[in-house]
């Protein structure tokens, strides 16, 4: 469960996040939806404690991220938007490295690793160095790495960005499975369809503010549109892309 209230972050003159509040419940998929430059990544960075908000607070399972960053991070599994692996390590070594940093016993790590290799169909490449990975291969390793400590709260920054159809489907299945296990899943996207397919709860941000929040149905209703994409366009305003 992630509770966000009144987040604000500026970079000089630029207001990246003006006022963002929402909740990502356990056992639900929450979509943070917004056009490029709406402040999604900045919001997530404050959620996992890498950026300090100027105002507002974030609580992960009741732990204040600012006051106890380490304890909050222990409850979080996150896929930041940089999508980078260590090129000279194999996929397996990349995942193992983070598991060890998290202090997970080796035998537990190996068991989970095998599980992920099966689940994400990584057997073909997981023992190769990450340098030559395709985009899809990299994403799968990144995801397994972010989830190796079985976090209760999962934050994914544009997880399907640039993935092909098969990889995207695999990703969606995994996100649903995490929800079914009772995790709070929060993922950001600028693709309406994806969010409407997956999410139980949608938070639409534009220019650093929450412009609408609720179930897909509630959002359609609030915008007065039949189609969710129309609702998105109406709510986020015309061509709001400072990029």
């Amino acid at each position: 469960m992630i509770l966000v209230s009144g987040l604000r972050k500026t970079f000089g003159e630029v207001v990246a996040v003006g006022d963002v509040s929402f909740a990502a419940e356990d056992g639900a998929i929450t979509g943070l939806l917004g056009p490029n430059g709406a402040g999604k990544s900045t919001t997530l960075r404050m959620l996992y404690g890498l950026m300090a908000p100027e105002a507002g607070e974030v609580a992960v399972d009741g732990v204040d991220v600012q006051q106890d960053t380490m304890a909050a991070q222990e409850r979080i599994g996150a896929l930041p938007d940089t999508h980078a692996l260590y090129p000279r390590l194999t996929g397996r070594e990349n995942i193992r490295y983070f598991a060890r940093l998290r202090g997970i016993p080796a035998d537990v790590t190996e068991g989970r690793l095998d599980e992920f290799v099966r689940l994400l169909e990584m057997a073909d490449f997981v023992d190769r160095r990450a340098k030559g990975y395709s985009h899809g291969e990299r994403s799968r390793v990144l995801l397994a790495r972010a989830l190796i400590h079985e976090p209760r709260n999962v934050l994914l920054d544009e997880p399907t960005n640039g993935l092909d159809v098969m990889s995207t489907r695999r990703m969606r299945d995994l996100i649903r499975e995490l929800r079914d296990r009772g995790c709070a899943v929060l993922f950001s996207s600028h693709i309406m369809q994806e969010v409407s397919l997956l999410c139980d709860h949608i938070v639409i941000v534009a220019a650093g503010r929450v412009v609408a929040a609720g179930s897909p149905g509630a959002i359609r209703e609030a915008a007065g549109c039949e189609d969710l994409e129309d609702a998105f366009v109406r709510l986020t305003g015309p061509a709001e892309e400072p990029a």
Partner: protein
């Protein structure tokens, strides 16, 4: 602490797999001994030539006594001169030629200075050294003749030597060797200590930022100080390894270097050198860590290292050109202190245990402060996210 060990192992593995970089480091440490060996052989070659030289003399018939005296000198063979001494020397057919003018005998007999002409090319190392030896020989011949002339007139030759200068050198010959010819040893070792960890530090820290993997790394509920500590430890292990490798190379160079420098440090001496150099390697790795944390990319880090590359050279020049007086305080300035202490060990002088320990502690303390600073910097928003 456990997580620092995890980071350490990962970075070490990562660094060892970075083959190209690893080989570059190995090459850079082996170049110096090779240069030294070549220079040593060259110097010995000149010594050999001097000990057994030929002296072409033109106009031998003009001064038979002198020629005979020269021919009696050990390691000197008087040979006939080429047709045109100047062009022979210019064309490198001869290193030098002594020319005795036709009026030599006449001036000699009249008691006027008899001129001798030495044709040489001082731009050539061998020519300059040989000309020096021949000049000294001719001067001593002149003094011998002068003494004989005075004796024949009933005057003691001592009269024209009103003072006799005797030099009592307190700078031991081993020390002189250590401070001149062996000045390269501390310099070379400190360069290794300084640059040994560079590759790992810049890849593990600046490279981590450049690739963007830092963001995910910082999400693992591991305090930054442990991440920095692990990365530093990996860099430091490389620096220490290269320093020890450098000591090994020095031992080999000294053993096989021709032209005996008549200095052979004992095993204990080399052990002391290692004890002096290792804390410095740890300190230098901490400098690399700080610079790498500032740098946005691997290349930028390398540029910063270029700026500080002169640091290990300062003591080298300071000692070579006598800028600093060695005192108690000098031992405690990182790099300079270690340079001087290594020289002292090479010179066969005692280094006080407390001095060694204190210098080591100062280097380690400075390293700790630098790492603390780097830890704060590493997680600063502007450092993590500005790319």
């Amino acid at each position: 602490m456990r997580s620092a060990a995890v980071v350490f192992r990962k970075e070490l593995l990562d660094g060892l797999r970075d083959r190209r970089a690893f080989i570059a480091v190995l090459v850079s440490i082996s170049i110096f001994p090779i240069v030294m060996l070549v220079m040593g052989r060259f110097a010995e070659g000149i010594q050999d030539e001097l000990r057994n030289m030929e002296l072409p003399v033109a106009g031998q018939e003009n001064a038979p006594a002198l020629v005979e005296w020269l021919a009696q000198q050990p390691g000197l063979e008087v040979t006939p001169a080429p047709e045109d001494p100047e062009s022979a020397v210019r064309d490198r057919e001869a290193d030098l030629v002594l020319r005795i003018p036709a009026d030599y005998q006449e001036r000699f007999a009249e008691g006027r200075p008899a001129e001798l002409e030495l044709v040489a090319d001082s731009s050539r190392t061998a020519g300059g050294a040989k000309a020096g030896r021949v000049t000294r020989l001719l001067e001593s011949y002149g003094q011998e003749v002068a003494a004989l002339r005075l004796v024949s007139r009933g005057i003691s030759p001592m009269l024209i030597r009103p003072v006799a200068v005797e030099r009592a050198e307190v700078f031991s010959s081993r020390r002189r060797t250590a401070f001149s010819a062996l000045g390269f040893i501390p310099f070379f070792l400190l360069m290794n200590a300084f640059f040994g960890g560079m590759q790992i530090a810049s890849d593990a820290i600046a490279g981590e930022r450049e690739r963007g993997s830092i963001e995910a790394l910082l999400l693992n509920a591991v305090p930054a100080r442990f991440l920095i500590l692990g990365k530093w430890a990996a860099a430091a292990v490389f620096a220490v390894f290269l320093t020890l490798l450098g000591i090994g190379t020095c031992i080999l160079v000294l053993r096989f270097m021709p032209g005996a420098l008549n200095i052979s440090p004992s095993v204990t001496d080399w052990g002391l050198v290692a004890l002096i150099a290792i804390p410095l390697a740890l300190f230098c790795s901490a400098i690399q860590v700080v610079l790498s944390t500032y740098a946005k990319s691997y290349k930028e880090a390398q540029t910063y290292f270029g700026y500080v590359a002169f640091l290990p050279m300062i003591p080298f020049f300071a000692v070579t050109f006598n800028w600093v007086e060695q005192g108690t305080w000098t031992a405690f300035i990182p790099i300079l202190g270690q340079h001087l202490m290594i020289l002292n060990v090479m010179a066969g002088e005692a280094v006080a245990a407390w001095e060694l320990a204190l210098a080591g502690l100062i280097a380690l303390g400075a390293a700790a402060a630098l790492l603390r600073f780097a830890s704060g910097l590493f997680v600063r928003e502007s450092v993590v996210f500005v790319r």
